[in-house]
């Protein structure tokens, strides 16, 4: 008995220092990124914005699959929906372009309510494919919507794009800070949610849904709430993504490869069920993309193989394995016993 | 008598929790052995270890002259060790007759055929095309036993076959035991019904909290000894 508590104390002490160091590192990097428009070039800023978008999408997918047990391969439904609603609101409703972003997010969340109600009639892997069908329905409807360009899509009118800021640099800065805010919000939001009462309920659901029900957790309501919230935030990210691209088409908006395959890759390799995992995953993903830029199809084949490999070898992913071995946590959620 | 089954210092764990501590156990050919003990004593865990449903790598378990430690369940079954699982576990998608037939999936030669099973359990004949679970508890138990017999086992393990059944039904089922013994199958019963266990067994073991707390023949053990071994109450005489 004495040996056990001694080892535990030693392990905890080491990780407390490491934890503080890692948190400090994260804060320093975050502050550096906050001032990026001052030290980074235009191309680098675009890369960062893309990384921020993927980080937000990854945190949301992780929230669904890693913490709530809802595996979705239809995330692209809300990316595209957010994008299209943003374009529709910006072009037709007359509200300021920047306000159209959160407005589109809220509208996406509202539409997620009935789609969630339908999707929740399925379970497990069939739920996953059901989310894909829903995404396809959205894509086909968007291709029929002639007011938004139908199958060929639509570009953001130049005056609207210019209304964001007076100069090109100004516009770059505004967009950068929107992306930065979305990324920071995604991490802090998920962290906050998991540390709250809702988070405890979710961890219980993930560990054992039946047990959670038996102690009074309304699992269905909790899962539905998470589904709608993540849909809304995914829509928010989608709005930004297509604002940045200045053009939207059904193919791009509802692309399975971009908004689901890549996102899943990021979460799974980085470490599913952890907040740090998607951050690590984004870094690895972009590093690999730099290396494999000219590989074409081989890049995707490699990606798929790595994802399969992670599932076969250690499904907790890189951060999950590190965390378990060295008892690490940059964003401690605090409830877990293992 | 040849030794059919032997374990030495058998241990079993569920994660960090130890369920069995050093079990020494034997069954000789032709014997009927009973294990009694209260809930949680480790009786079912022991049977699951024997049949390969729990990991036993590196342990000392011998059956029919071979080490079966760490062996896959279907291979152990093919050596002639069959179990009537706790709760019967009949297959609902199969008829009564199909449940019996599937017991013969190991393709062992021997005296047990559908005809033989229907002979010792005649109630089942009229129900053979019913879905496996559309029967009374007692009839389901008969199907479960018949299913195990269809594999022509050398040793039949019966896990709590009296559970949830009325006394008369239990008696009816145990009447099949002599017929099973006649056909050359040795039997190991795990029983909560101590009276039934004593009535049918050549030797009994009592388990308590993962250990063997008593062993002997029904004739040689007293009620007081059994009570102490079962519940762990009272002081050693």
């Amino acid at each position: 008995m004495a040996t056990i508590s001694h080892t535990a104390a030693r392990g905890q002490k080491a990780s407390a220092l490491t934890q503080k160091l890692m948190l400090a590192l994260v804060l320093i990097v975050t502050v550096a990124l906050a001032f990026a428009p001052m030290w980074a070039g235009r191309a680098d800023l675009r890369l960062l914005m893309e990384a921020f978008s993927f980080l937000a999408l990854a945190q949301m997918w992780n929230m669904l699959a890693g913490y709530t047990g809802l595996v979705s391969v239809g995330q692209q439904a809300f990316v595209g929906l957010g994008g299209y609603l943003f374009f529709a609101l910006a072009i037709f409703s007359g509200i300021p372009v920047l306000l159209a972003i959160p407005a589109a997010a809220i509208a996406t969340a509202l539409i997620a309510i009935p789609t969630g109600w339908v999707a929740f009639r399925l379970q497990g892997a069939y739920f996953a494919i059901g989310t894909w069908v829903i995404a396809e329905v959205f894509r086909l409807i968007a291709a029929q919507a002639s007011a938004l360009g139908g199958g060929s899509g639509i570009s953001l009118p130049v005056e609207l794009a210019k209304s964001i800021a007076a100069t090109r640099d100004g516009r770059d800065q505004v967009m950068y800070y929107i992306a930065f805010a979305i990324a920071v919000l995604s991490v802090v939001g998920v962290w906050g949610l998991l540390r709250s009462r809702w988070g405890l309920a979710l961890t219980a659901i993930r560990d054992s849904e039946n047990a959670a029900e038996s102690v009074g957790v309304n699992t269905r309501r909790a899962k539905f709430l998470i589904y709608v919230l993540t849909a809304g935030f995914t829509g928010l990210t989608g709005s930004f993504i297509f604002l940045q691209k200045l053009r939207i088409t059904p193919e791009a908006a509802f692309s399975v490869n971009e908004w689901t395959a890549f996102v899943i890759f990021i979460v799974v390799i980085g470490g599913i069920g952890t907040i740090e995992g998607p951050i690590l995953g984004v870094i690895i993903f972009f590093a690999l993309r730099q290396i494999a830029a000219d590989w074409g199809t081989w890049y995707l084949i490699m990606m798929g193989s790595i994802a399969i490999g992670v599932m076969l070898i250690d499904k907790r992913g890189i951060w999950g394995a590190l965390k378990s071995r060295y008892n690490l946590a940059i964003f401690p959620v605090g409830h877990r016993l293992d | 008598m040849t030794r059919l089954l032997e374990t030495q210092a058998l241990e079993a764990f569920y994660g960090d929790f130890q369920a069995l501590f050093g079990i020494d156990f034997t069954v000789d050919e032709g014997e009927t052995v009973a294990i009694i003990g209260s809930n949680g004593a480790g009786k079912s865990t022991f049977l699951r270890a024997l049949t390969g449903l729990r990991p036993t790598k590196g342990q000392s378990i011998e059956f029919a002259g071979q080490s079966i430690a760490g062996m896959a369940a279907d291979r152990i079954h093919k050596l002639g060790l069959a179990m009537v699982p706790e709760g019967r576990r009949l297959f609902p998608s199969l008829t009564v007759e199909e449940n019996l037939l599937i017991g013969a999936s190991g393709h062992r030669a021997g005296p047990w055929t559908l005809k033989q099973v229907y002979e010792i359990f005649p109630d089942l004949v009229s129900k053979r095309r019913n879905p496996g679970t559309a029967l009374s508890g007692g009839q389901q138990q008969m199907v479960a036993i018949g299913r195990a017999l269809m594999s022509n086992p050398r040793l039949l393990l019966c896990d709590e076959i009296s559970l949830g059944l009325a006394p008369k039904v239990i008696k009816d089922i145990y009447q099949a035991v002599p017929r099973i013994r006649e056909n050359g199958t040795s039997i190991l019963v795990v029983e909560q019904d101590v009276g039934q266990a004593l009535a049918v067994a050549d030797r009994i073991y009592c388990f308590m909290e993962g250990r063997v707390s008593l062993t002997g023949t029904p004739q040689s053990v007293t009620r007081a000894q059994i009570a102490r071994a079962y519940f762990g109450m009272g002081e050693d005489a």
Binding site: I129, E136, A261, G304, S305, I308 | H77, E98
Partner: protein, 288 residues
């Protein structure tokens, strides 16, 4: 009258969708396993048929036999050595592994065959039809597809209900933990189930090659159709899957009759309606 024709074409199309779906239904029934790469394997079969018959010039009957045998072996091996390792209570690994396979297969096909749309030309089979009255004509190929679907499902039912292998498959579907206690080897049984599903996938792929233009990315759409047919028909009921395919096919052809661009959307909407009104499907035999 055009509507009657659309109905008939839809029923026949349903045969193809039932072929797409039967394998998916089987694997879910026995193992509670959903293979997201299911549609991609159908496309692989289509490309193999194309390669054997067109590129290598083999006799079509030999081509069919080769495709069926190869897919059967690949299905067995894939299940036995890869997919068995991720079977279990956690739903995530099977979904992610098969999703990864889907991406790999699509890109491998892209690498080998290019993105061009292809079709297996069958000459007389493409154009032959049987006429019923003025406005209804039944193509020989669609009729063959429908008959093949019924035959495939009938054969699978035969295996499941009249063979000892089928007994084991049904028992495994009920209670896989107890099956080894009967002398059954789960690893092998699961692989046999996938092998049977792969045989049907092979036939489905061969018909796909003959009926429509396909390209390396055609897999996911087939998966969605198969999935919809299974859900509409009801889980665990393979004849229900045939009915589900027919309903899907009819919804699509009627949608196409209204406007060519509405075909796929109409199918999805029919699926969603069934999901809303009868979430367990029309004739379910098991729960999801």
């Amino acid at each position: 009258m055009v509507w009657i024709n659309a109905l008939v074409q839809g029923v026949l199309l349903g045969g193809l969708y039932a072929l797409f779906a039967a394998g998916l239904s089987l694997m879910f029934g026995v193992m509670r396993f959903v293979n997201i790469a299911h549609g991609d394997f159908i496309v692989v079969a289509a490309y193999l048929m194309l390669t054997f018959v067109v590129t290598w010039g083999l006799n079509p009957i030999i081509g069919v036999a080769l495709v069926v045998i190869l897919l059967g072996i690949a299905g067995y091996a894939n299940q036995r050595f890869v997919l068995n390792r991720v079977l279990g209570k956690d739903i995530l690994p099977p979904i992610l592994v098969t999703f990864g396979m889907s991406i790999i297969i699509q890109n491998a096909l892209l690498e080998v065959f290019s993105a061009d749309s292809q079709k297996l030309q069958t000459g007389w089979l493409d154009t032959s039809s049987i006429s019923f009255g003025h406005n209804v004509a039944i193509g020989v190929l669609p009729l063959m597809m429908f008959i093949a679907a019924v035959a495939a499902i009938g054969l699978l039912q035969l295996v499941f209900y009249r063979t000892s292998l089928g007994r084991l498959l049904r028992a495994t579907s009920d209670d896989p933990e107890i099956v080894p206690l009967m002398g059954g080897n789960n690893a092998h049984i699961f692989a046999i189930a996938t092998m049977l599903a792969s045989l049907v996938v092979a036939v489905a792929g061969i018909f796909l090659a003959m009926k429509t233009n396909f390209d390396p990315t055609a897999g996911p759409a087939r998966l969605l159709f198969a999935f919809e047919a299974v859900i509409i028909g009801g889980l665990g009921n393979i004849w229900g899957t045939l009915l589900g395919g027919i309903i899907l096919g009819v919804a699509q052809t009627i949608g196409a009759q209204i406007d060519a661009g509405y075909q796929i959307l109409a199918g999805h909407l029919a699926f969603l309606i069934v999901l809303i009104v009868r979430p367990t499907g029309l004739f379910p035999k098991m729960k999801g």
